[in-house]
Amino acid sequence: MNTGIDVVLVVILLSVLLSLASSRMMALVKIMALQGAMVSIAPLLLDEHSPLSNEGILFFQLMFLIKAALIPGLLYLAVTKVAIKREVEPIVGYHASLVVGLGLILLSAYITHHLGISLTGDAALLLIAAITTLGGGLFLMMSRTKAITQVIGYLMLENGIYLVGTALTGQSHSIYLVEFGVLLDLLVGVMIMGIILHNINRTFDDVDTAYLGQLKD
């Protein structure tokens, strides 16, 4: 067993739980930065990881930069600029969210088992963490009213997707086509959401998604 990857996975799981339980927007952004950093270094610590090519090194640097610095930076700007009231405003309470998060870990362990893919050691744990992150992201999107928490939930979801990809492929392929795709998707998504948030804020004086219902036909 590789202790490095275990530590990283534990931090990722804790970050998911923490994000479900945190009540402050700024804390949530910081947690996302931590999670992004952990997610982007996780594949490097895997046992079956092959030696990096030049593109690989460049890719991981880019990845770390975007996930751990650029996107949280953008979020930070959005939170300060839009001057959102700093509470998260949950639909489901913090404690209940925490319980749901714990339930998610159990559920993803069950799903990993149920899928019946033969994964060795680390990868199985990685898959559990990945599905938990994915589910946590979805739950965050479901249970919070503010538009910016939707963005953060979406980011967490993408982190989960990236981890699932890592667990299933074990970095055995040489081109990082899928990873690049996910990354680009994410970046563009965050930027667009930033712009939209700004506009929503200007129009409605609030970014509560409950008011967005007024836009429908």
């Binding site: 149920h114 979805l138 739950f139 479901m142 939707q150 409950a210 967005l212 429908k216």
Partner: protein
């Protein structure tokens, strides 16, 4: 092959280069046409250079590292490429002045880009040799033509027509890809050449699925609904291109698949033949009942697709019954009619476009007396009308005669096929007669007689580029009519790589092309002779001229002229159970009647059926499910989570 690929590049450049120079509108349009013409000329040269080569030239590359794209140029491809390369520059030339109005430069630029894309996509569809290349080209063709139909996007009607077209073309593509998927599953290969090894049942299923898909593109009768809506909505030169060339891609796909599958079951031939007869007869019957000139022409496209399918169906019957002469006549007639229809239908749409542009009116009953005001448009339209009615000595006659020959060969077959061939002869005769009736109606009402409403301004002849395009096409029609041998050989050439020539009979056509050429020339000579005789006889006699449709009245008014409705009523009523006529009429009851009116419209049975059987139930169900769409994003995400959870846990 290299030349054809160069042509593709030039055609695409014809769309891209004018984009940055839109501020200089004339220059942009001229560049567009020049590049298109250069591309099509290059392609044409490429075609002729490879025309007699035995080897099929091919080209392949990989796209995005995983998708292999293969192109191949064989004889069938060459025959279908010819009308594309021939028509595209002429249609673009017509568009030069037709689009001469105040629109934003971006709209013109986008239009030119889509136009180039559509032509390139059609070239790619015919060249495609594996699933990926075909699918990409087919979708590109659908989307480009959708955007072209959408040119007048500020009109509600245009948008509706374009959406209807998109629906049909995408549903058709779905069927085609389903058929391809089945074939891939059975053979495990993406290349077309391997698909002949699929099992019998798979082949049949795939063919019928693809028949629905290609049929909806080509406008075969029950699937034709988009055609009469999209053509009136699109600009006329786009209609000309779509009706003249694009819908033939459906026929191409069908023929390509038929030869790939190499399945001589007669049921395929019978289905194609039956569909051809239905589209042919009903297409022209509906055309007779329509009053919108472009809608009428759209129904004539359906009729002509029917004729082409009759030819191809007879050819397939010939293959199924091992009758090489019937095969040759049927396919040669069908393929020649592809070219002929491309020529005269584009010509007619261009004529209609010129009329609509100059008079601002597309309803037959409001037009009249245009022959004297637009002489070139009138005469070229008349040429096209004679050609489409299949009268000698023009090109429509040549291809229809070949199909007749195939049908007469088929009468000698055994069993039900002989009956079918007999029915095909009857259907062809009926189509020919009805088409003549329909075009006497159009020409008689639009070009002869007197204008039916006061003209706000005198109507002038259309612009020079439009006239030039129409004249070129009319001359091409006459040329094929009087010089049919090379064109018949060309159409027959399409079969070279597909049907193995039967031993013993080197030339299945015999001396027919030469005799046919002689006959049409003699017909023309007799016609001219009679005209000269008439001139001589009447030289010294007083000739009085009355108004057309004057019916002997000395002082007729324009209002007592024939209308399209009254002219065609008898013929349309004859088809009553298949054609629904709705009349709005207040009958005269008193001795001194008040104001009364009469209006009749012909409604499409297929359209009514589609609405009643498919659209209405779907709308009902969708209405019931409205509550799902409540607008709470959190619950929408909840739906997603629920679906994923169910999929992960259950499946």
């Amino acid at each position: 092959m290299e030349l054809v690929l160069t042509a593709l590049g030039l055609i695409l450049a014809g769309g891209l280069v004018p984009l940055p120079m839109q501020r200089w509108s004339t220059g942009a349009r001229a560049t567009h046409i020049a590049l298109l013409a250069a591309g099509c000329l290059t392609g044409m040269i490429g075609l002729f250079l490879t025309w007699n080569q035995e080897a099929i030239s091919a080209f392949s590359c990989t796209w995005l590292q995983v998708l292999p794209l293969a192109l191949a140029l064989d004889s069938l491809t060459a025959v279908f490429l010819l009308p594309v390369f021939l028509l595209a520059p002429i249609v673009a030339l017509y568009g030069y002045q037709y689009l001469d109005r105040d629109v934003s430069p971006w709209q013109t630029g986008a239009h030119q880009l889509c136009f180039s894309l559509l032509i390139a996509a059609m070239v790619l569809v015919t060249l495609a040799d594996n699933l990926f290349a075909f699918a990409l080209a087919w979708e590109l063709m659908s989307l480009a033509s959708y955007l072209l139909v959408l040119y007048d996007h500020e009109h509600e009607e245009s948008r509706r027509a374009a959406t209807l077209y998109l629906l049909f073309t995408q549903a058709g593509a779905l069927m085609i890809f389903a058929a391809f998927g089945l074939l891939f599953q059975a053979t495990g290969s993406f290349t077309f050449a391997q698909w002949g090894q699929a099992p019998h049942a798979v082949k049949l299923t795939a063919f019928f699925l693809a028949l629905v898909g290609f049929g909806s593109k080509a406008g075969v009768m029950p699937l034709h609904i988009w055609l009469p809506h999209a053509h009136p909505a699109a600009p006329s030169h786009v209609s000309a291109l779509m009706s003249g060339v694009m819908i033939k891609m459906g026929v191409y796909g069908l023929l390509r698949l038929y030869f790939l599958l190499d399945e001589p079951a007669p049921v395929l031939a019978r289905t194609v033949l039956g569909l051809g007869m239905i589209s042919g007869v009903l297409g022209v019957a509906y055309a007779l009942g329509k009053h919108d000139i472009k809608r009428l022409l759209a129904y004539h496209s359906i009729e002509n697709i029917g004729i082409i399918l009759i030819g191809c169906g007879l050819g397939m019957l010939g293959i199924a019954s091992h009758n090489p002469a019937m095969t040759a006549f049927g396919f040669a007639g069908g393929l020649l009619h592809v070219l002929n229809h491309a020529l005269f239908k584009s010509l007619l749409f261009m004529g209609a476009g010129a009329i609509i542009q100059k008079t601002g009116c597309r309803h037959l009953d409001q037009l009249g007396g245009l022959m004297r005001r637009m002489p070139v448009t009138g005469r070229t339209f008349l040429t096209g009308s004679v050609a489409i009615a299949g009268l000698p000595p023009l090109n429509g006659f040549v291809s229809e005669l070949l199909i007749y020959c195939a049908a007469f060969q088929g009468v000698r077959l055994q069993g039900p096929d002989a009956l079918l061939a007999m029915a095909a002869i009857l259907a062809l005769a009926l189509i020919g007669g009805l088409a003549s009736a329909c075009f006497t109606k159009v020409v008689g009402i639009v070009f002869l007689g007197e204008p039916r409403r006061p003209l706000s301004s005198p109507i002038a002849e259309s612009g020079l580029s439009m006239r030039a395009a129409m004249i070129v096409l009319a001359l091409a029609c006459v040329l094929i009519g009087l010089w049919p041998e090379p064109f018949i050989r060309m159409a027959l050439h399409g079969l070279r790589d597909l049907v193995a020539p039967a031993a013993g009979s080197p030339d299945p056509l015999g001396s027919l092309p030469e005799n046919l050429a002689l006959a049409t020339r003699m017909f023309l000579a007799v016609f001219l002779l009679l005209a000269a005789c008439r001139h001589l006889v009447y030289r010294n006699k007083p000739v009085t001229q009355g108004a057309t449709w004057g019916c002997g009245f000395t002082r007729p008014t324009a209002r007592i002229q024939y209308t399209g409705t009254s002219y065609a009523r008898e013929v349309v009523e004859f088809h009553q159970p298949f054609v629904k006529i709705r009349t709005v009429h207040k009958p005269i009851t008193k001795i001194f009647p008040g104001l009364t009116h009469y209006a009749s419209t012909v409604e499409d049975r297929a359209e009514i059926g589609l609405h009643r059987l498919l659209v209405a139930p779907i709308l009902r169900v969708a209405d019931k499910l409205r509550w799902i769409q409540h607008g709470h994003i959190q619950l929408y995400i909840g739906y997603i989570v629920l679906t994923i959870a169910v999929l992960l846990l259950v499946v």
